[in-house]
């Protein structure tokens, strides 16, 4: 993998009325890597993505600079859109056209010649396993198929950059794994991928680097593995009801961190033996001892409250 930086964003701001959606945000992405944005709803992930290809315009600020493959979306978004494939959060297929026509019309938007377009469309619907549905109306596709078609559409112009806003939200595990495999193949071919997701599993599977953001700001960033190692204990003991944990005060807080969420107790530790000792006094089924994951880290850094008011 090269270390060539292809996206470089510095001190970007975005305000909607009095609401600051993105606040002094900076990041850079290496070529052919997968970069993930995690954060609760309303954290500013989508807005951030949109600002990269001119769908949203960032606030005027003298410290702001955006560079996407050598182009500034504020000056000319067209080359950026030409080299990018964009998968928005909401499917926006043309319901007045069928599967093939959707792709064909889009190939015209990119100025792809007809014979070349036919070749690419055929290989893309095959790649996304949509060939049996090629003459179907959009309405007759399942959510997973529509998503695959939107991804196929984003690949029409052999993009160097893929911008995926929650590509697998609401899809079944089979489709998710299929999409993950396809994305890994594309990364191998040298495509740079930007991704937002709520699935910690997805970030862990695909991303080389992640940023957890909250209220438009960066909370932590790094590779998923490094973050797990550095920012959260290795193991968690979940105890579902506090009355099962009678000796709360006897817990050795030098080894175990206790978190209380209403009736639930969460005990974090790098020492699995310490947690095991506690769990032995509990009934099977009242607790869950496991390795910590990105979701724990996510909740630790962004808090447990609901973020949409």
């Amino acid at each position: 993998m090269t270390d060539k930086i292809v996206i470089d964003v510095k001190n970007i701001y975005k305000t909607f009325g009095s609401f600051r959606a993105v606040n002094d945000f900076s990041f850079s992405v290496n070529e052919a890597s997968c970069f993930g944005f995690l954060g609760p709803n309303g954290a500013g992930k989508t807005t951030l993505m949109k600002m990269l290809y001119g769908k949203a315009i960032c606030d005027k600020n003298k410290n702001t600079s955006i560079n996407v493959f050598g182009y500034n979306p504020l000056e000319n978004e067209l080359p950026i859109k030409y080299l990018s494939g964009i998968v928005p959060q909401q499917n926006n297929l043309d319901e007045e056209l069928n599967v093939l026509q959707n792709l064909f019309i889009f190939s015209k938007f990119y100025g792809i010649k007809k014979t070349e377009a036919q070749k690419r469309i055929e290989s893309l619907i095959d790649f996304m396993e949509l060939t049996p549905k090629k003459d179907s109306k959009i309405k007759h596709l399942s959510g997973g198929m529509q998503r695959r078609l939107v991804i196929a559409r984003s690949l029409l112009n052999n993009p160097k950059l893929l911008i995926l806003d929650e590509p697998t939200t609401g899809l079944d595990p089979q489709v998710r794994h299929l999409i993950w495999n396809k994305l890994r193949q594309l990364k191998k071919q040298g495509v740079t991928i930007l991704l937002t997701t709520h699935y910690m599993e997805e970030a862990f599977q695909l991303c080389d680097q992640i940023i957890i953001m909250h209220n438009g700001e960066k909370v932590i960033s790094g590779s998923p593995q490094a973050l797990l190692k550095k920012d959260i204990e290795s193991y968690v003991l979940e105890i579902f009801y506090n009355n099962q944990l009678q000796d709360e005060k006897t817990i050795d807080t030098s080894k175990v961190r206790l978190e209380k969420i209403e009736e639930k107790r969460l005990l974090y530790s790098n020492d699995i033996n310490a947690l095991q000792e506690i769990s032995e006094k509990l009934q099977v089924g009242d607790y869950y001892l496991r390795q910590s994951n990105l979701e724990d880290l996510f909740l630790k850094t962004t808090g447990r409250g609901l973020n949409e008011k």
Binding site: K14, T47, K55, K81, P88, N91, I105, K108, F109, Y110
Partner: protein, 261 residues
């Protein structure tokens, strides 16, 4: 595969591809979409020729069928462009998210709306031509006198598409288009010289009538078809061009704000 990012399509190709999208969708249901401009003038011929026309024998030296037929050449363009760029645009923008999809491709809001306006102009031209062909084949008007109709239809389509887009830029509830059709389109149908000559209206209304876009389309058709061509018609042409540019500019500017966060 080599992929040079400077190779994004030119402005003309971008606009043409947007136009083509609308064309493709339109011809998909061509029979049902193309029926109204052919059938409606026939219904009109029945209603006027057999009914109302027998009461009004002379209208500025022509039969009432003839008088009204010339009006319908432009109102058909007005209606089709108005529907296209009110309900059509609103549904594409707010319900189907078609524009969001298109804006992910190398297309700017300006390209998108320019293509949309051209498409509405094309539909206006098609509707005027269809209506003309019916009236000519039934012998109501002569082809030579109204050869200008497709061009007027095109510009009438453009005028009503930019006006509709401007109205749409203010709308955030699809039912508000009732205000547009009842408050703007219907009065124009009756007070722009389509169903009766506007010279019959009180003089204080005349400036208002001159302000309406349809007045100028219909005047051009009537004067050119009756051979009364003079320099004053240049004012109508100028009005139409100015209207397209000014209202078009405002509509695109306002919709740009709506489509870009």
């Amino acid at each position: 595969m080599k992929n040079n990012q400077e190779n994004y399509p030119s402005f003309i190709k971008r606009v043409a591809s947007v136009w083509y999208r609308h064309f493709r969708v339109y011809v998909r249901d061509f029979i049902s979409n193309a029926m109204p401009p052919f059938v409606e003038p026939m219904i009109f011929l029945g209603g006027i020729g057999l009914g109302l026309g027998t009461y009004i024998l002379d209208m500025n030296g022509q039969s009432y069928s003839q008088f009204l037929a010339k009006g319908l050449l432009v109102t058909s363009a007005m209606f089709t462009a108005s529907f296209e760029c009110t309900y059509g645009t609103y549904i594409r923008m707010e319900y189907d998210n078609i524009y969001d999809g298109m804006l992910a491709a190398p297309i700017r809001v300006f390209d998108l709306l320019f293509g949309e306006i051209l498409w509405a102009g094309t539909k206006g031209m098609f509707f005027s031509t269809a209506v003309l062909s019916v009236f000519v084949s039934f012998g109501v008007i002569s082809l030579e006198s109204c050869l200008i109709a497709p061009i007027i239809g095109f510009f009438t389509g453009i005028m009503f598409s930019v006006l509709s887009l401007l109205f749409t830029s203010f709308v955030n509830n699809i039912n508000y288009f009732n205000f547009y059709f009842t408050g703007i389109v219907s009065p124009m149908f009756f007070f722009s010289g389509i169903v009766f000559p506007t010279t019959n209206l009180p003089s204080f209304l005349q400036p208002i009538i001159e302000f309406l876009p349809l007045t100028h389309s219909i005047r051009l058709i009537r004067r050119v078809s009756s051979g009364e061509i003079n320099n004053l018609l240049l004012l109508d042409v100028l009005y139409i061009l100015a209207f397209c540019i000014i209202v078009g500019y405002l509509a695109i500017k306002r919709l740009n704000k709506r489509l870009i966060d």
